[in-house]
Symmetry: C2
């Protein structure tokens, strides 16, 4: 097994087997591209300037001194793989180039805790899918009953919709509870006020690499070449706003106030050892969605919640990325089959990932069965929806033999409605019965 | 009435009363910002370099030598108004600065037919609304019957959804017929093939100026200060793909293959003489959507269609922007009320604009009543949906006394399915009855 001269514990998310990319900033300096190794960030612009990335095809192009990964993403897989191989070589315990160069080491390495992580890409478009059969079934049962749980289209195509790119934010950004219009069942007219059914959604997302021209679909065979890497995603949702607004054109304000992502983009190459078969698809999809290649990935996912009155976070969900019915490759092939173009830096996300067990449900909507079964946590705290002050954290990792390839975490705190819009209490001011 | 030394006919779309902004390119040169006057484009980077925009607040900032209007849009209304006043002064028949400077004239003016128009902005996010009551009612009757035509939420909020920014293209870009998955009523399983119900949608769009911070809603009172200017929009739609995919998350592939816009962005200031009251709103909207200001604009809209076998275009729709039930200001206030941030260059569109008359319907879906009442044109041509080779053109203008403030046009031709994906004929290859 590979080892780095930067030693890492066996449960570190960032051993030499991972090497994710991110945009980091040291106070007062311009943001640039780094990779994570153990507790450190390695500044790739320093490594590039030292000539150590020569021959990869990405060298000396200001790719690594850029303030986003878009230009690196726009290159193709052979270049990504060459950079990754070179970095694994340079960080290897047996390679002296950086290990024995103290000037380079002190210039290139920063403790993670000393840097700020920024959004990894300028996201042109953000698309969210609905690819978990368990999630779609749970939601369907709640809203339409057991007989009509899945819409007729669901097993034939990966249902998706366009989300809001402007409000995708990096882990650590606190989220204000949104206000909006909703219609409680017991009143005849809609009301305006703070969302009372604030929820998270456990998702994963992937950044698009080279992209495709308009009118030139990406075949399922080539779809994975579009995947630069993956992140954790929390697609915040306002369930009461959503229930009132979503027909017939889908969710809008219920989702566009915020979407949080983790900062480190884990390359698809780092996930290869964890490739596995996804769920059997029955009925067989149409030919443009068919592949014999194993297209799922075994990524452990956990969600934890910590209320203001709680000493430690409480784990509320244990799930896995491989539960997804529709693969990333299928989602990309479907997205582009009508000619829609993807661009470098576009973000596609899976939709809520729920598994077959009750504890593997990826949203409070499902965990509390639309608010009817509260979650009980320590200190007699319980939840049906998110409360102000709650810290919601998603983490994920692949378990190798003696090492992990991890995603770090995406974490955010729920703040009250912004003060200057805040109504005096959590009441609905315009209720007319 | 103001006159320019560039003479214009009374039906010109671009007299001195208009002065829209666009991005133009002369072959071999870098794109830059221009305004339209009569049959000419005036290069504003030339005017700026000559010092003629000094004092406007936009001068000498490379605003007009930029390849998009985003940086100009990011400035605020006082600067936009100052630039507009200065241009109206400089182009006035009585102002000698440009009129009598032959070097400046020959450097600054280009015949419209000699330049290529490009997308006016880098569009971060594109949002489409559903703001015409007549359109929503027509569609509702067709899909759900007369009693349940409008969804309960429709009269309480401007329904909207996020569209695809990457596939917004400029007028003149031909559009390939998309392929996709659909389920004809007479078969039990979905099929894949070319869209057989290709449609246009008559819309108008507006570009966002300064934008707002996440979590900081734009009040209805300040909403119009976010509107830099307006364009014509054709939101191409694949009705058969839409019918099968849209539940429960809204349209996706049915819309994201292309959206066409006109190249000249008409400033809101140019539309002020045509401001008028919109339709009476009953029930009264919630307070965050209430305004006493007249918020509609009297903009004549026409759609024409020319098949390959037709000598001239046939006008199929006569409508007006003022028919819209929800105003632009209401759409902006609603969009941001939950905290969603808008950014300079974001595009918001109205959704299909249909009027009260049969001939004022803004889509073939409505004009042919879901394909049951063909449109009859000259040469015995008729249409239920768009055919390959059809040229679809939307135009629009405000009628002043002796002048027009016009939008030019958005025009595109329908091309067959891209060759390398094309099935041999317009058949569905995977039909299983």
């Amino acid at each position: 097994m590979k080892h780095s001269f930067i030693t890492t514990k066996t449960d570190s998310h960032f051993p030499i087997q991972n090497l994710p990319y991110g945009i980091f900033q040291i106070k007062g300096q311009s943001p640039r591209v780094g990779t994570a190794i153990g507790d450190y960030v390695l500044d790739l612009s320093v490594i590039d300037k030292a000539g150590l990335l020569d021959g990869t095809g990405a060298e000396a192009k200001n790719i690594f001194s850029a303030t986003s990964l878009n230009r690196f993403m726009a290159l193709r897989r052979p270049v990504w793989s060459a950079v990754r191989s070179k970095l694994q070589y340079l960080l290897d315990a047996d390679t002296p180039d950086i290990r024995d160069n103290s000037a380079l080491r002190s210039k290139g390495f920063h403790l993670m805790e000393d840097v700020e992580m920024l959004l990894p890409a300028e996201i042109g478009d953000y698309t969210d899918f609905y690819a978990s059969k368990e999630h779609a079934t749970n939601v369907g049962i709640m809203f339409r009953g057991k007989e009509n749980a899945l819409m007729p289209n669901w097993t034939h195509l990966p249902v998706g919709y366009h989300g809001r790119a402007s409000s995708v934010v990096i882990s650590g950004t606190d989220i204000h509870r949104p206000q909006g219009q909703m219609k409680p069942v017991d009143v005849s007219l809609p009301v305006f006020g703070p969302c009372l059914q604030l929820d998270f959604e456990l998702e994963m997302g992937w950044f698009i690499g080279p992209g495709n021209e308009m009118g030139q679909p990406v075949s399922i065979k080539n779809a994975e070449d579009q995947i630069f890497g993956l992140v954790l995603v929390n697609d915040w949702s306002a369930r009461d706003i959503q229930a009132w607004e979503y027909q017939p054109l889908g969710p809008f304000l219920a989702k566009n106030f915020a979407t949080s992502i983790s900062p480190w983009v884990v390359p698809l190459d780092a996930l290869e050892p964890f490739r596995t078969a996804g769920p059997k698809q029955d009925p067989a999809p149409l030919p443009y969605l068919q592949t014999t290649k194993a297209s799922a990935f075994d990524i452990n996912l956990e969600v934890s919640l910590q209320g203001e009155g709680m000493a430690v976070p409480h784990r509320i969900t244990i799930s896995n990325f491989r539960y997804l019915y529709w693969s990333m490759a299928q989602q990309i092939a479907h997205h582009t089959v009508g000619g829609c173009n993807l661009r470098p830096g576009d973000l596609l996300a899976s939709g809520t990932i729920s598994g077959p067990e009750k504890e593997s449900r990826g949203s409070l909507l499902e965990l509390t069965w639309r608010g009817t079964e509260p979650i009980h946590m320590e200190n007699e705290e319980k939840r049906v929806w998110l409360e102000d002050g709650d810290q919601l954290t998603i983490t994920g990792w692949c378990q190798g033999e003696g090492y992990r390839v991890g995603f770090g975490e995406v974490t955010s705190r729920v703040l009250p409605v912004e003060h200057h819009h805040q109504t005096k209490q959590l009441i609905h001011p315009y209720i007319k019965k």
